[in-house]
Every structure is written in structure tokens, then in C-alpha cells.
């Protein structure tokens, strides 16, 4: 039913592939038979009205929920049954909808922890935390990339809301993931702050696969290379933004009221 | 084991389990609604037993001692909630653990001052002091049967209150969503106070009813505290039905453990707890997702 909208990919390295994912909570089918893939070098946005199953989907992908049925692969590796920490070590990075930084740590400490998590000896007991130059470098790079240069010694709790989201992304970057999952990165953000984050997200796709769930349609249509539209736990359309925008089912279900804005 | 012996052991198991339920239900209510872990719960069980000893000697009437003891515990619970426990809502578990540990030291010393550290026994009420002849050489004390009946009645009242009243609705919400009841709890200061007092009164009631069948001694609160914790871990925090299931399981395990495996009986309930933790870390009737 949704096949007509599948665009032919030029670069076809599939980084993340979900096949027929289904999640039931008791009698409620939060996610039904959802298949999607994210390619290296692209931003894939998932949109849909509230309650469409987007959050459940992202939790299934990051491993906080295990699917009732279906499979998830990163490249050739089947990660369907992996716990979140194991998925992270397999190269899957996630930023949360509600900011979940370590509030009592400084910006630098937050990012360094993330860098440490993916280092060769993340749980070393001997030697201080400053001794690993690779971690140091990755921490610094991520802070600069996320636009937080010069803010390293600030305690995370004291950052503005927008800066905390930047820190979230810096932490994800520091784990050097091949795939990034972003859950409503623009939620609750002012216009100028949002602009910064959108530019930052746009730059993430280079060399990585990015999946984003977001309500801000302007941002979605600016960022996404491909879109998947969900409703009632199902995928109703997948394709390039222009194709999805024109899709009658999508217009009927969801986009109608937004079209003027988008 | 013949049928009569089995019946006696079964009655013992149920009676033991019902007393455990009485005490543990108070603990699980206080946790479920107030979000407070109260290590001094066992101390009130001990205090209840001493009150039963003191009041029945003073009044000469066990029923009066029971009413008086429960009333004293209830008032003490109201006072404690007002003075100390109220300050713990929203504090971390460590603060709750240590404050209630401080309370234990205080209660123990008050017991020492009021009653000394002697071991006492309490006579059951005269009309319940007989035994029922089961077979030629087996009899069963009436008082133990009365405990079963009494505890079942109290359990029934608790269940009715929880399933049929507004307070009960808050209790059930508490078992499922503590965050929400904390929000509600701000509105229901009075409810908090009564819940804590009822919890304390249930612990004391447990101590009162067992006073005639066990000895009254200073350390009795500690072992009851541990057992109540095991009951709550087995059943699931905040769940009164879970406490009933857990209490009966422990009653059965302990009683029949002593019959069949006397050498390891004292650690059987902990093995049971370990098994439940492996099977359902949040308790048999606890929520699946913590």
C-alpha cells in the first residue's frame, strides 16, 4: 500500500533496519507491523499525531522496550534482543525527549562520560579519568561541534534549556555512534534556540544515519531526507518530503491543518 | 504425617501467616501511600506486645488491653507523623532509613524505662483459653483459632476499605503510581496522618494478638521487621493482596520447613525470597515494569 512512495536510493548503505515491529501493551497495539530503514548519510523523520506510536517506536529502537514481534538490525547485526547498553556499544546513540543529562556534573564531565562509555576501557579502575588522550580529544570535539565551546566547566543544571539540548547531542556525539535517534529535540524551545539546534542536527547526517521524531513541521521538512508518517501505531506513508506531503492519506489524517505552515 | 497432624500444622501455618499479614499490611500501606520506608515498624509490634502485657495486668481484661493498646499505638502514630514522618516525604530513602533507625533506639529505650527488659507472658482471655480435642492425643488451642478468625476479619475490613472507599482508591492509586499520590498527598494531609497511624496500629495489634501465644521479649520486633520485609518483597510493595499472599507463603514455608527440613528451616524463607527475586523482581503481585 505504501510502496509507490519508496524512493530509489542512490547510496544504499542501510544502517538501521526495523522489520515488522509490533508492540502490544495488554490489549493495546501501540506499534503494529512497522518497517522502516535509515541509511547512512540521511535524516529520516518519523511524524504523526499524538498517540501514533512514535515514542514507543523510538523506545523499541533504543532497546528500552522489547518488541512483541519483529526484528531490528544495525547493518548485519541483529540487535532485537539487546539491552540498551549493549545497543549503545553497537553504535546506537540516543537523545531523549525530556532532557536527561547528569545535572550535577559539569558539561565537560557529562560529555567525557559519554566518550568514556565508548572507549576501549570504559570501566578501568586504575589511573584517573584524565589520562586517556583519545577520550579527551573526543570530548573536546563533541563539545565544540555541539556549540558548547567555552561552557565546559558549567554545571549542567545551570545551562539554559536550549544548551541542555545541545549538551544532550554533544553526549550522543561523544559516544561516536553510527546511528543517532533523536526524540523531539526541539520540544519546548524558543525560535532562536531552535535555529541553532536545527543547524546542529542537519550537520549530524554526515557519515551517520539519523532518525528523528519531531512535532515541529517546519524543522522536519527542512531537515528530513525521508519521512515516515504514523497513525494509530501503523505506517501510513513513507517517502521523500514532497511525496509524503502530497499523499492523500497523509493529508487526510494529519497534515491538512499544517499545510499552510509547512 | 497423618491427617490430624497435617491439619494442626496447616492451622499453625495459616495462623502464623495471618499475624504476619496484619503486621506487613501496615508496612506496605505506609510505603504504598506515603512512600516512606519505616524500619521502626517492628518496634511497634514489640511495643504492642508489651502494652498487651501491661494493660492486661492492669485491667485484668485482655479485650480492654487490646483496645487500649491499639488506641495508644494509633495516637502515637498520629503524633509521630506530625512531628517527624511528615518531614520525610520526598526525602531520600537513606534519610527515612536512618530516621526510623533513630526511632527504634528511642522506642527501645522507652520500653526499657517503662517495662524493663524482662521476658513476660500474657494469659489469653479465659473464655478462649481451652483446647479443642482433635484426636485422642492431639488437641488445638482455641486461642490460636481465635487469632485466625480475628485476623481474617481484620483482613476483610482492610480489603473492604481498600476496594469500596475513597481512601481505598487513594491506596490503590498509591500502589500503582506513587508520583500521582504524592501529588494527591499534598491535598490529603489528614489521610497521610491516618494512614501512618493505622499502619502503626496494625503493627501493634499484631504484637497484641500474639502476646498470649509467644513470649514478650525486647528483641521480638527485629525478627518481625525482617519477616514483614520479606512478605512485602514477596508480595509486591504497596499491594495489600500481595502482602496476604506473601504472608501465607511464609507461614506455610516456615511451618512445614520446620517439619520436613528442620536443619535448614531458618533460611528457607530467604531461599523463597531469592527464588521470587529471580522470577519476579517486583514481587508476585507487584507491577511488572518498575
Amino acid at each position: 500500500m505504501r510502496q509507490p512512495f519508496r524512493r530509489k536510493r542512490v547510496m544504499s548503505e542501510v544502517a538501521l533496519q526495523a522489520t515488522r515491529l509490533t508492540k502490544h501493551f495488554g490489549g493495546l497495539k501501540a506499534v503494529s507491523d512497522v518497517s522502516l530503514d535509515v541509511h547512512r548519510g540521511e535524516i529520516h523523520a518519523v511524524i504523526g499525531p499524538n498517540g501514533a506510536g512514535k515514542s514507543t517506536l523510538i523506545n523499541l529502537l533504543s532497546g528500552e522496550l522489547l518488541p512483541t514481534s519483529g526484528a531490528i538490525k544495525t547493518g548485519a547485526l541483529d540487535i532485537t534482543t539487546f539491552a540498551p547498553d549493549r545497543r549503545a556499544r553497537a553504535g546506537l546513540g540516543r537523545a531523549y525527549q525530556k532532557t536527561t543529562i547528569f545535572a550535577q556534573f559539569t558539561v565537560h564531565e557529562n560529555v567525557r562520560l559519554a566518550a568514556q562509555a565508548r572507549s576501549h576501557a570504559p570501566l578501568k579502575m586504575f589511573g584517573g579519568i584524565g589520562s586517556d588522550t583519545a577520550i579527551k580529544q573526543r570530548t573536546q570535539d563533541a563539545i565544540v561541534k555541539a556549540g558548547l565551546a567555552g561552557r565546559g566547566e558549567i554545571v549542567a543544571a545551570k545551562l539554559s534549556h536550549g544548551e541542555q539540548r545541545q549538551l544532550e547531542i554533544a553526549m550522543v556525539l561523544a559516544t561516536d555512534p553510527g546511528i543517532i535517534l533523536l526524540d523531539e529535540p526541539l520540544a519546548g524551545m524558543g525560535t532562536s534556540e531552535a535555529r541553532r539546534i536545527v543547524d546542529l542536527i542537519a550537520s549530524l547526517r554526515i557519515g551517520r544515519a539519523v532518525l528523528i521524531v519531531e512535532h515541529d513541521m517546519d524543522a522536519v521538512f527542512e531537515l528530513a531526507d525521508r519521512l515516515t508518517v504514523m497513525q494509530d501505531g501503523r505506517v501510513i506513508a513513507t517517502g521523500a518530503p514532497q511525496e509524503v506531503r502530497a499523499h492523500p492519506a497523509v493529508r487526510a489524517a494529519y497534515l491538512g491543518s499544517h499545510e499552510g505552515a509547512a | 504425617m497423618d491427617l490430624a497432624t497435617f491439619a494442626v500444622q496447616l492451622l499453625n501455618a495459616v495462623q502464623y501467616g495471618m499475624v504476619l499479614f496484619l503486621v506487613a499490611s501496615g508496612l506496605t500501606l505506609v510505603f504504598g501511600i506515603l512512600g516512606v520506608i519505616n524500619l521502626a515498624h517492628g518496634a511497634f509490634y514489640m511495643l504492642g506486645a508489651y502494652l498487651a502485657y501491661w494493660l492486661s495486668a492492669y485491667t485484668g481484661n485482655f479485650a480492654l488491653a487490646m483496645i487500649g493498646g491499639v488506641a495508644i499505638a494509633f495516637v502515637a502514630g498520629m503524633l509521630l507523623e506530625t512531628v517527624f514522618v511528615r518531614l520525610l516525604y520526598g526525602r531520600d530513602h537513606l534519610a527515612q532509613v536512618l530516621l526510623s533507625f533513630g526511632l527504634i533506639l528511642v522506642i527501645d529505650e522507652i520500653r526499657q524505662i517503662l517495662f524493663g527488659k524482662d521476658v513476660h507472658s500474657v494469659a489469653p482471655p479465659a473464655w478462649l483459653s481451652g483446647s479443642i480435642q482433635l484426636t485422642n492425643n492431639l488437641s488445638y488451642p482455641v486461642y490460636r483459632l481465635a487469632i485466625c478468625a480475628f485476623c481474617i476479619a481484620v483482613a476483610a475490613i482492610i480489603f473492604l476499605v481498600i476496594t469500596r472507599t475513597k481512601v481505598g482508591m487513594i491506596v490503590r492509586a498509591g500502589a500503582e503510581n506513587r508520583e500521582m499520590t504524592r501529588v494527591l498527598g499534598i491535598k490529603f494531609d489528614q489521610v497521610n496522618r491516618y494512614v501512618f497511624a493505622v499502619g502503626i496500629a496494625l503493627a501493634a495489634l499484631g504484637g497484641i494478638v500474639v502476646a498470649p501465644i509467644s513470649t514478650v521479649f525486647p528483641g521480638m520486633g527485629d525478627s518481625m521487621l525482617i519477616l514483614s520485609f520479606v512478605v512485602v518483597v514477596l508480595g509486591g510493595i504497596g499491594s495489600v493482596a500481595g502482602a496476604a499472599v506473601g504472608a501465607l507463603l511464609i507461614g506455610l514455608t516456615d511451618t512445614f520447613g520446620k517439619v520436613f527440613f528442620p536443619s535448614v528451616a531458618s533460611i528457607l524463607i530467604y531461599l523463597l525470597m531469592a527464588a521470587v527475586l529471580l522470577w519476579r523482581p517486583n514481587g508476585i503481585l507487584g507491577r511488572k515494569d518498575a
Binding site: 547498553d85 536527561t100 562520560l113 579519568i129 | 520526598g90 537513606l94 536512618l98 529505650e109 526499657q112 533460611i267
Partner: protein
């Protein structure tokens, strides 16, 4: 989590260490033994704080690890002879670590309040094991007639029966424990442990294996509690089931709270303060437990950050630090 100690703190530590070394040469045996006991309890409290303060896990079974190691010494000491420190100490610590591994593996399947109750229950299981069975004197406990020694080819190199020798062994262990814990807390492992405490979900999503991190910390903590228990049993010359009881666990938690949750050596201060307080109360009133209980309640309510909260009040200086290292993390949910 302030990981780098300021310079003046280092100087204070050095001065205190010199004072501790000088103590046996200026004070009477009574005080030397008293300080030795406080050091042992301080070691125990510091060991506990690795999981409580740095790991955010309120354990109520460290008394059991402490007592278990003491019992191992009692059971391996020959009736009329000294046990060899060289193998009984590692054995005792191994036993405590083993118990911590089993209990931790089960208890760490739970969170928050469940964790507290489960550790308490398993700790009491060990208490009842030594209380109800005849392995080492049952409820009466057992004597250690001769303190352990280090002997080589029949020559006694170190005899713990000599109070000064014992004191220096305790002091050496104390320094070792402080060094080890400082290293762990400042290491990548320590940071991961603190991260799991502050935000478990986030730490997991970054790729940290939370269960393994916590279990490792719990086992190290249990082994160090065993070291303290071994030394305590050697000092008292006696072990009793009460050593494993949960009142010990709760008392050392009080020491941790008094000293402050976020530092390595804070619990040592807490141990010194609480033991001195107990001695003072015992000397002034018959009902010292009542007074101690009230003091504990007052500390919990008034000084959630430990006695170091008093310093700014006393000296009149207030430092705005921006971070609140002494304040315990917010209540965690089950």
C-alpha cells in the same frame, strides 16, 4: 562529584596522618585502642560509602559482610595457637566478597526501597545462620584466644597481640583503603558508578553496563567490609552473631551520613564523631540509647549533608559553589 582534592585538604590529610602515626608514642594504650577501633569502624563505613554515597545504593547488609569475615578468623584460629595472617585475612575477605557477590546479584535485580529490604533480609539470613547453628558457638559467639601473626620459618615477624603492632597494622590498612577507594572513585569506573547513581537510564543508554558496574562496586565494598571485620574480630578477641546484625549496618550508615556521602574519607570522620558521641553519652547517662536515637533523628532532619555542613555555620563563611556535592541525590523511584 568534586574529584580533585584542593591543596589545603591534602595538607590537612598529611597532618592527620602524622598525628595518627605519633599517637601510640604519646597516648595511653586505652586511647590507642579506642582510636584503633574508630579506624576499623571508619574503614567499614568508607567501604559502605562506595555503594551508598558513590553508587546511590542503600545497603543494609554490610554488617553481615563485616561479621562474616570475623567469624572466618574465629573458625580458622587454632585453639592454643595463632592463625597466620597471610592466609586467613585473604580467606576472610574472599568469603565476604563471595557473600556480597551472591547477595548483590540477587538484590541488584531490584531498585530503591526493594533493594534496602532485600539486603536487610539477606543480611539477617547470615545473622540467623550463625545464631541458630552450632558452627561457631551459636548465639553465644566464639573466642579468638590468640591473635593472628605473620611468621616465616618459625620466626614471628608480626604479632597482633602487641597493641602497638596491632595499631600500626590497622593504620596501614586504613591508609590502603583510603588510597584504593580514592583511586576507584576518581577512575573511569568510579565516574560510571556515579553516573548510574544520578541517572541510571541515561547511563545505560550511553552504553554502561549498569548491573555489572554496581555488582563490582558491591563486591569490592563487601571485601573491604570483610577486612574491617577481620581486624575488629582480632581486636576484640571475640565474635558474636550481633556483629552480623542489621543494627551494625544501620549504625555505619549513620556514620556515612554524618561524614558526608560524597567524599571518600568523610565516613571516617563520621565514625570518629559517632563513636566519640557514644562514649560521651555512655559516660553521662544511663539512657544513652535514647539520647543517641534523638541525636540521629536530629542529624537526619537538620544536617542532611553531614557534619561538614556545620563548618560554614561555625566559621561564618558561606561559599556559593554552584554544585551541591554534599546533598544526597533526590529520592529515587522503585
Amino acid at each position: 562529584m568534586n574529584m580533585t582534592a584542593p591543596r589545603n585538604q591534602t595538607i590537612i590529610m598529611a597532618v592527620l596522618l602524622i598525628a595518627a602515626i605519633a599517637l601510640p608514642f604519646v597516648a595511653s594504650t586505652y586511647y590507642v585502642q579506642f582510636v584503633g577501633k574508630a579506624f576499623i569502624m571508619g574503614m567499614l563505613a568508607m567501604a559502605l560509602n562506595l555503594v551508598v554515597g558513590h553508587g546511590g545504593l542503600v545497603s543494609l547488609c554490610h554488617g553481615a559482610f563485616f561479621g562474616l569475615a570475623g567469624y572466618i578468623l574465629a573458625m580458622t584460629t587454632p585453639k592454643y595457637d595463632a592463625a597466620s595472617l597471610m592466609w586467613t585475612l585473604p580467606l576472610a575477605m574472599l568469603a565476604s566478597a563471595g557473600a556480597a557477590l551472591v547477595i548483590g546479584a540477587l538484590a541488584l535485580r531490584t531498585r530503591g526501597i526493594y533493594f534496602i529490604m532485600v539486603t536487610l533480609a539477606f543480611g539477617e539470613m547470615l545473622f540467623f545462620f550463625f545464631h541458630d547453628t552450632k558452627v561457631a558457638g551459636g548465639s553465644d559467639g566464639a573466642f579468638i584466644n590468640t591473635k593472628p601473626e605473620i611468621a616465616l620459618f618459625g620466626t614471628q615477624l608480626l604479632d597482633l597481640d602487641k597493641p602497638i603492632a596491632f595499631y600500626f597494622v590497622v593504620l596501614a590498612c586504613l591508609v590502603g583503603v583510603v588510597a584504593l577507594l580514592t583511586m576507584i572513585v576518581r577512575s573511569p569506573f568510579g565516574h560510571a558508578l556515579a553516573a548510574a547513581r544520578d541517572n541510571e537510564r541515561r547511563a545505560r543508554s550511553l552504553g554502561f553496563p549498569i548491573f555489572r558496574i554496581r555488582l563490582t562496586a558491591f563486591v569490592i565494598s563487601g571485601a573491604l567490609a570483610g577486612l574491617a571485620g577481620y581486624l575488629a574480630a582480632a581486636q576484640f578477641g571475640f565474635v558474636a552473631p550481633q556483629m552480623l546484625g542489621w543494627h551494625v549496618s544501620a549504625t555505619i550508615l549513620v556514620m556515612v551520613l554524618i561524614g558526608g556521602l560524597r567524599s571518600v574519607t568523610g565516613p571516617l570522620i563520621g565514625a570518629l564523631v559517632l563513636i566519640a558521641l557514644e562514649e560521651f553519652l555512655k559516660a553521662t547517662t544511663d539512657h544513652w540509647k535514647l539520647a543517641e536515637g534523638l541525636v540521629i533523628i536530629a542529624i537526619v532532619l537538620a544536617l542532611p549533608g553531614g557534619v561538614r555542613q556545620l563548618w560554614p555555620m561555625i566559621s561564618g563563611t558561606r561559599k556559593e559553589t554552584g554544585r551541591a556535592p554534599a546533598v544526597p541525590a533526590k529520592a529515587r523511584h522503585v
